[in-house]
Subunit: 386 residues, 2 copies
């Protein structure tokens, strides 16, 4: 038996073609394309297809995929009814896990959950890929209305993925500036090698479970505060700090207490996370766009960033992707408890790509354990116990 490494740190769990991180140099590439060029030139639709298929699509392939995504934005009426029966106080990530888990019941494929080996039904695999990816944004946006007592805003097919998502969220066609920011955020969060939620998708997928069950497993995993839940925590932290003036004493106090500052540092990167570099520029652009009319939260974020840079950068600790994305989404008027849902919409592309890669060369995950418990012992009848 090999050595036990907690969290399987450094243990290869799969072979993968999908993405690659060079933490020493601050490189993240999807299918070989650096994240910087994808953020600048690509779209979420194209990046998703790149992740799924392994290469940049032709114009025709992209148009076809985009058409499929647009045609799959609507959900069945009963999904809405189901969501209406959920408590409005429930967390959006719990709603999302619930709703995605149910998608297989609404779209069961030709032979239902059982009766076929999904590896032999590539039409089903592709069709569910599109169905889930397209509907993630719809479910998240629907919930924003339903939990507030309103009817959801039906999707439009004449808008891009990012535009339509913002449209469904607010009921208004978004300014191009904001739609571009959202599109870039979706590109940046779409994939990040074998993180916990992607790993959960591999484990679930390795039993040949249906993709809705697989993605729901990943959503549940992403919901934890040590993973996707962090971007919501960043904004809650900034609200706690309250104003730019409080930033320095607050950061100093946390550092002195060796307490956590949400949104700082990343296990994989020794230098600044390349996604954070891009997001930082978007934050600056957004501030310029608003001509200084930014919220106290935004100003607090800039102050925290500056102080953390001064105090932590020499240790290789920089603001990470959660820090900036939380700030951006908040400034776009999105409620903090929806940030992780947006992360999920985006990462769904990566989950689906890894799920398909797992199916192509599958072996069920069944690791072993270091048993540290009792040896064999005799059962003691209830009456003879202490």
């Amino acid at each position: 038996m090999s050595e036990y490494l907690p969290g399987l740190e450094g243990v290869p769990a799969t072979k993968s073609n999908i993405s690659h991180i060079d933490g020493e140099r601050g490189v993240l590439a999807y299918r070989g394309y650096p994240i910087e060029s994808l953020a600048e030139h690509s779209t979420f639709e194209e990046t998703s297809l790149l992740l799924l298929d392994g290469r940049l699509p032709t114009a025709r392939e992209l148009a076809e995929f985009d058409e499929q995504l647009r045609g799959n934005r609507r959900v069945k009426y009963n999904i809405r009814e189901m969501m209406k029966s959920l408590p409005p106080t429930g967390h959006p990530m719990e709603m999302l896990q619930t709703a995605v888990a149910s998608l297989g019941m609404f779209y069961p494929g030709p032979e239902g959950l059982t009766g076929r080996d999904i590896r032999e039904d590539l039409d089903y695999v592709h069709s569910m890929t599109v169905k889930i990816l397209a509907r993630m944004a719809t479910l998240v946006a629907m919930w924003e209305h339903i939990r507030n007592g309103y009817d959801p805003v039906p999707p439009r097919t004449d808008l891009t993925y990012a535009e339509n998502f913002l449209y469904m969220l607010s009921g208004k066609e978004p300014e191009a500036f904001y739609a571009d920011i959202m599109d870039t955020c979706l590109v940046l969060h779409a994939e990040h090698t074998i993180n916990a939620s992607t790993f959960a998708a591999l484990v679930a997928g390795s039993t040949l479970a249906a993709p809705n069950g697989v993605i729901a497993a990943a959503i549940g995993t992403l919901s934890g505060p040590l993973h996707g839940g962090a971007n919501q925590r960043v904004v809650e932290m900034l609200e706690d700090i309250g104003s730019p003036d409080n930033a320095r004493p607050w950061v100093e106090k946390q550092l002195a207490a060796k307490a956590k500052i949400w949104g700082m540092g990343h296990r994989e990167y020794k230098v600044k996370d390349p996604r954070a570099v891009i997001l930082e520029k978007l934050v600056e652009k957004l501030a310029a766009y608003k001509g200084g009319q930014v919220s106290p939260l935004f100003e607090t974020a800039l102050a925290v960033e500056e102080i953390c840079r001064e105090r932590l950068a020499h240790k290789g600790v920089y603001p990470n992707v959660d820090f900036y994305s939380g700030v951006l989404y908040a400034e776009m008027g999105i409620p903090a408890d929806q940030f992780t849902s947006i992360f999920a919409i985006s990462r769904c592309a990566g989950w689906l790509a890894h799920w398909r890669e797992q199916l192509a060369d599958n072996r069920i995950f069944r690791p072993t354990q270091v048993y540290t418990g009792e040896g064999i012992r005799d059962y003691v009848p209830l009456r003879d116990r202490g």
Copy 2:
């Protein structure tokens, strides 16, 4: 980087006190107690508490836990409404993943999904443990009625876990003989070291996700045909074979084609799975109890078992736990597509025990990968692509 082992076979993923398998000797023990003695002397309630707490409870502890389970059988009205909005053709495991994922919205704990470290809120951890374990049986039984267009049968608090489950399923108080079989089946399936679904629970739990999200991840993982879905397949296979007379030619054909015979063999055991030994005796007892008035499916199962023993036992391949449990449940009148749900009810005890063990010494799962993809390459604008 250590060696890549597909499916992490032989790679220790955790330290655990909970259960132990000796595949050479055919031993499975929960907390040191061999499965044979638990099957004979214990109950699902006691076994669950043993798995959770690490020791056999005192009479008082057991009574208190049992009381909590009984008091948590009912679900909120809106959970029923939610289930009514799901398509009746949907698979019970998809319903179960959906419904369990939603439980956190209905029972959010004192501070909701975020805002606290669940490791510091042991009351919440215990309360959710009871809430989920108690309600698993309710949800499964409710679905059986709802999908058939009937109102669900409310749980009773004067029955044991197994009795109440069978009561809710059928609307009739079960004969003690069948309740005992169900109780034994629940004990036998409750825990089995780091299988795929338990592993998914560890991965999801390691992000400090809420327990409903963790258990829903495990349910999605269990639903796959290579894992929990196998017991349903056994019965579908037996229905395919059709009669005892067809058993021999069918088995010979499968062996000649090197095709899969569902319910045969287990990766962990070189000798017969100790759970299968116990279940085999239950099958015999059930046949005797019915005085030979068994279904053709049951007789077909006995014929397949005999032929497989003759042809496969010398290779160390024996009927496994899925083979016998499927036959038993079918003979008890339970629909085949609910078998995996019963597995989930039972295994939920093990998932919760592993989740709590993970929280007590947590490190987020983030394994690495063998990257086999493209090196860094330049983005090609859409107009310049082939």
